[in-house]
């Protein structure tokens, strides 16, 4: 048993942090936040592609580095910490994972090398409105090889080249072009773009089986673990910011970090973050090993990480006081991202429900 990153993985993580410190300071995140015309940081996206990160978990035969999913988790943690404003999760955690799970050889050969090279941006389109995605909530359908329906919201849908769409009878690959129109949406996190996608007889290709909900959930299980690491990276950064401010800020003649109201708040953050880290590690193991425990481990990792990031991002603002409520403070970048990451693969409430469902199934077995 070894429940930690290996030395090589730690090295990769350190290198990723150095790279992102140099290429993804908060000024770069703000450049996307403040410019409605900017969907993502194009230069950062290219630079990340040049690092090979997009293909970290993609097999060599499909143009990837084949490092493994734990390495991808290490990269995800650093991307989350940096609040990176790029379509990494959509492309890698959702679309590449969906292709690796369900793609035919031809589909993998066609798309995975281009994803690994940074030439293709992906989007995963499931939701059609408010509330959890279920078999009953899906109206998008396919007829004679043409897909018709509306998806809202689709993260990175406005910039995606390849969209994996959930229809009534399964997942479909749709190339962004004929029959696809995008309307950019205003969201809580403008550093990650989102769109309403309307498909009108769009050419499509089946990806996997007819059970679309099961396929979506299998992709969500994998994405949930990777997202948990982004959330963990963000939550840890919030704790660092709160700690730094608590040491710098004086009130009533002493550092505010000396007051127990602040000390205990930050201790609570630390406890939640450590529990989230431990659960994320277990999820990483299950993902990388292809273990049967993955659905439960993924739900556990996601609920813990969503809870930890929400708590850390909101209490970081609180610790910063009035300064934390300003646009110029970085606190809200993390608060916004915590909302985006908590919802993009289904809400915490839906994941709690899924978790208990998994426990019931396990007990019944």
């Amino acid at each position: 048993m070894n429940f930690d990153y290996s030395d090589d993985q730690k090295f990769l993580k350190d290198e990723a942090r150095k790279f992102l410190t140099a290429h993804c300071g908060s000024d770069r995140v703000r450049a996307v936040l403040d410019d409605p015309a900017k969907a993502y940081d194009v230069d950062l996206w290219r630079a990340v592609g040049a690092q090979g990160w997009l293909g970290a978990a993609i097999p060599e035969e499909f143009g990837g580095l084949a490092l493994g999913h734990i390495e991808l988790c290490a990269i995800a943690e650093e991307l989350g910490r940096a609040c990176a404003p790029i379509p990494f999760a959509s492309t890698v955690y959702f679309v590449a994972e969906a292709l690796m799970l369900y793609g035919s050889d031809a589909q993998k050969v066609r798309w995975l090398p281009r994803i690994a090279a940074g030439d293709v941006i992906g989007a995963f389109a499931t939701s059609e409105g408010a509330g959890p995605v279920t078999a009953r909530s899906i109206r998008t359908s396919v007829s004679a090889g043409k897909l018709t329906g509306e998806k809202i919201p689709v993260t990175d849908g406005d910039v995606a080249d390849l969209i994996v769409v959930l229809a009534r009878d399964g997942l479909y690959l749709v190339e962004n072009g004929a029959g696809v129109t995008a309307e950019v949406l205003e969201t809580l996190d403008p550093t990650r773009s989102a769109a309403r996608l309307t498909f009108t007889d769009a050419p499509c290709e089946k990806l996997g089986t007819d059970d679309g909900i099961a396929a979506m959930q299998a992709v969500f299980d994998r994405a949930a673990v990777l997202l948990a690491f982004e959330q963990l990276g963000g939550a840890d950064r919030c704790l660092e910011m709160a700690k730094g401010y608590a040491l710098d800020r004086y009130a009533f003649g002493r550092q505010i970090g000396g007051y127990q109201a602040i000390k205990h708040k930050l201790a609570d953050m630390y406890v939640k973050n450590e529990l989230a880290r431990s659960n994320a590690y277990y999820g990483a193991w299950a993902l990388n090993a292809g273990a049967a425990e993955l659905p439960l481990a993924a739900a556990t990792a996601r609920v813990a990480a969503s809870d930890a990031y929400w708590f850390a991002s909101k209490e970081n603002i609180q610790t910063h006081g009035g300064m934390g409520f300003t646009w110029e403070s970085d606190c809200h970048l993390y608060y916004r991202r915590s909302r985006q990451l908590a919802l993009v693969a289904g809400s915490p409430a839906a994941w709690r429900e899924r978790l208990v469902g998994q426990l019931e199934m396990r007990n019944a077995a």
Binding site: A246, G257, K263
Partner: protein, 401 residues
Amino acid sequence: MDFKDSDAEATYRAAARDWLDANIAEHDAGHYPDDMAKAKAWQARKAAGGYACITWPQEWGGGGGTPIESVIFGQEEARHAVDGSYFTIGLGMCVPTVMAYADDATKHRFVGPAVRGDEIWSQLFSEPAGGSDVAAIRTRAVRDGDDWVINGQKVWTSGAHYSDYGIVLVRTNPDVPKHQGLTMFWLDLKAPGIDIRPIHQMSGGSSFNEVWFEDVRISDAQRLGPIDGGWKVALFTLMNERLAIGTSGGVGPADILAFAAQANGTDGPLLKDAAFRQTLADWWVQSEGLRNTRMRTITALSKGQVPGPESSIGKIVAANQLQAIGNTAVEAGDQYGIISDPALTPLKGAFHAATMWAPGLRIAGGTDEILKNIIAERVLGLPGEIRVDKDQAFRDLPVGA
């Protein structure tokens, strides 16, 4: 990251399992809890097999093994109804302190019998005026030739009523600031002048004691560490406490899940209640978080790293969860929930017992608040508390009730 046993670990686990199966059968399993004679016999059997104090050197009666092996054996042993709780404080805190600070003759006299379970040890630190503020100890030891004479009172001493020996922290110099006038000794709890009185807890039981000292005479040879240097020795003991008090036992998410599948909710079984399911998921996430955090601690230990304060996290989370799970099951009974008679309640009263025991667990071994201070100060590096007593002689400090 690998959650499975390595080949060597799997071999060790298989051997441990075989040994347990063979020896539990001979030992007459099922002595849990409260049967000290059987607990001692089991401890002796483990010592003979190299499974007591697995990480300690063999020359001291330990198993000469690794932290991971200790954990593996613990996991396998937990599948059987045997109780090692009599030895937790002695072997987890007191005897390591003796091993670190006593002379060779003392170590040779005491370590072996403790490992074999022949002798049980207690830790005597807390006092009526020194709980969270452990250094506020008032029990006095006064030098008399080659001896010391102790007067005062300790409290919340776990297991003193069945223990043979103890380590005790006393004030030897009241004229200096409080941390600088303390000294540690070991002593025989059966010595003349020691009066042990069980505390009647709010939970109904009596696991703790008051220990009164009236002119108790001990030799200077029983001193552990320098005169007035006891605080450093106490910190060594308490560092081990964090590792010793890890798991809380009691009811967990799996227990309340099983209960909820049977219990009546507003509309069908409680387990189908949406609000209950949300809360259950959070408990599961916490429990798994603690379990996986322990795995990270073991990984750190196995690499020769010093484990961090993860166990402080463990007790805060586990104690509060125990209280919440117990009370949720109690409230689920609606009017019936007030009944605590084990014959009439789910799981033979375990949820009710947890509700009544949890307040103690949130206090014992460091309150929630003290543990959060420890995390904030030692892990996050936030400023320590303002100490108005820091530079004053102990005898000049104001005292309350």
